[in-house]
Symmetry: C2
Subunit: 318 residues, 2 copies
């Protein structure tokens, strides 16, 4: 069970530990013949550097904490892929902490990150999170943080979010151009920033066209979409639908199928993460919010500030 250490190697070769250390990392001071010998010994005795000791010594962990409001299938896999791709390349690992949409848990996770000495934090907030006071400590400690996707207005940390306004406008325009007259807009949790900005942009664009009747519903889950649609679909005859997310789209799709309303010429436009819904119905149209890209972007931003670039507090729209 005991693993070979530098000291062990040093004893075997009758040289000092510092020399072994240097030889192992190709320090120019060491003669190439010694380097060879040391490396051979390391190989044969299966020497594995102890990352603990190294991190401890260098006072960094090469680990970043990823805190998300929930681990959903719609967004998380692609974001994880995006984050992985940049972090792994840089030799960093990350662990995932899910807040389960609880502010208290989010707070605890922040503490966890501080205690485990992460080099940085990637944070997407719960919908309970109303201010950033729980981040004061990380700010003080100068732990790099970048907030992504679910965020609140703040000027302390860099953030990267989807361009809700542009995307919702694009969707509205599509519906208008198709000549839709009675439109249903399906939105997520009414309390969310993201919902409000998409709602406003969508409504404003629709208003510019004339004679369009716009109905809106707010749903916190896929099932809630289905329930509300059950009623509202009876009362109106929509010729166009807008879903602000994959989650709401799933509910719409389900209801449409159930009422045999698919393939009926009705237009469906959604803001989507993109990996899932393309298989739902080929007639649906999407404005893509790419989670992978967001993950890459957020992780890169974090890497930059970890590596010493002065931390900025900008909000990037992608």
């Amino acid at each position: 069970m005991k693993r070979t250490t530098i000291k062990d190697l040093a004893q075997m070769l009758n040289i000092s530990a510092s020399t072994v250390s240097r030889a192992l990392k190709d320090h120019p001071d060491i003669s190439s013949s010694l380097k060879l010998k040391v490396k051979e010994a390391a190989e044969t005795f299966n020497y594995i550097p102890n990352d603990f000791a190294i991190n401890f010594r260098k006072n960094h962990s090469k680990v970043v904490g990823l805190i998300v409001p929930e681990i959903s299938m719609f967004f998380i896999p692609s974001i994880i892929n995006g984050i992985s791709s940049v972090l792994n390349k840089e030799g960093y690992r990350f662990f995932i902490l899910s807040s389960n949409e609880s502010y208290e848990t989010e707070k605890e996770h922040i503490e966890t990150c501080i205690n485990s000495r992460v080099d940085g934090i990637l944070l997407s907030m719960t919908n309970e999170t109303a201010d950033s006071s729980h981040l004061n400590k990380v700010k003080e400690m100068k732990i790099p943080v970048v907030i992504f996707d679910k965020t609140i207005p703040q000027r302390q940390f860099a953030s990267v979010v989807f361009d809700n306004v542009k995307n919702a406008e694009l969707c509205a325009e599509k519906l208008i151009n198709y000549g839709c007259r009675t439109i249903l807009g399906i939105f997520g949790d009414e309390n969310l920033d993201i919902t409000q900005s998409r709602l406003a942009a969508f409504q404003n664009t629709i208003k510019k066209a004339e004679n369009i009747e716009l109905h809106t519903i707010f749903c916190k889950s896929t099932d809630s979409v289905k329930q509300q649609l059950n009623e509202v679909l009876k009362e109106h005859n929509f010729d166009g639908f807008f879903a602000m997310s994959d989650e709401t789209l799933m509910g719409l799709h389900s209801s449409l199928i159930k009422k045999n309303l698919n393939n009926s010429g009705k237009k469906v436009i959604a803001i989507s993460e993109g990996t899932l819904p393309k298989h739902l119905d080929e007639n649906y149209e999407f404005i893509i919010n790419n989670g992978f890209t967001m993950g890459v972007f957020a992780a890169n931003e974090l890497m930059n500030t970890i590596k010493g670039e002065s931390p900025n507090t900008e909000c990037y729209y992608i």
Copy 2:
């Protein structure tokens, strides 16, 4: 940037570091008055224990490595949730490493886990992985490993997999009981263990009934299902479908919608992870492979052996 250490606290209070350490963790030897003083000081000077030093000292990391073949939306989110729920409770973290279906990458990730001194490994194999020789080292080092879901026949480590035989049989029986006569079985990658066992069980059960015409296709992706279905749906008039996974089901669903074949009384039965497809079409039926449960089970098994239970090599079917 310098953080308060135990030594700092000791100096301030004019006591020794060891006393501070003990006071902080409520050692019975320490007087309660001193404990109070120490804890107060710790509070006011914002003392945060350095997990690095602790881990380094105790020679454990409280971290486990999770290696998966890919980060897909179908399975991974629920498995992560299952794993989180047990690991977090135990004060463990985990980091996710995706092999991207490459054996070489899987091998590297194993190395990564060894180097970063994880306390255990949770592994789901790529479809390229044919033997477990890359696990010899972890075996030697006595690093606890449990393999889940995607695995190969081996007798070195504990594993937990879905009961493919039972589930495929159940699906076949359902189709038979519905009186289906022309059935299409949609299977995943033909080289996978999981595919073969589901295939065999499904075929055998169907064979027992008489006069059933069974067609099968093998598809490595959702898109491949759609392509193949494009042809095969023209040639035959199926009254029953079996999809062995969420991924294949997505393709089937998409094709059915496109050809306006949903709501046509055809039966669709699938083995599913369960979170996604319930929203696809309420008429579909599922045998649920619960990723959350599997995650919980696998993580528990790992925890047990990390905590010193003698490692077993059993294969659990759930």
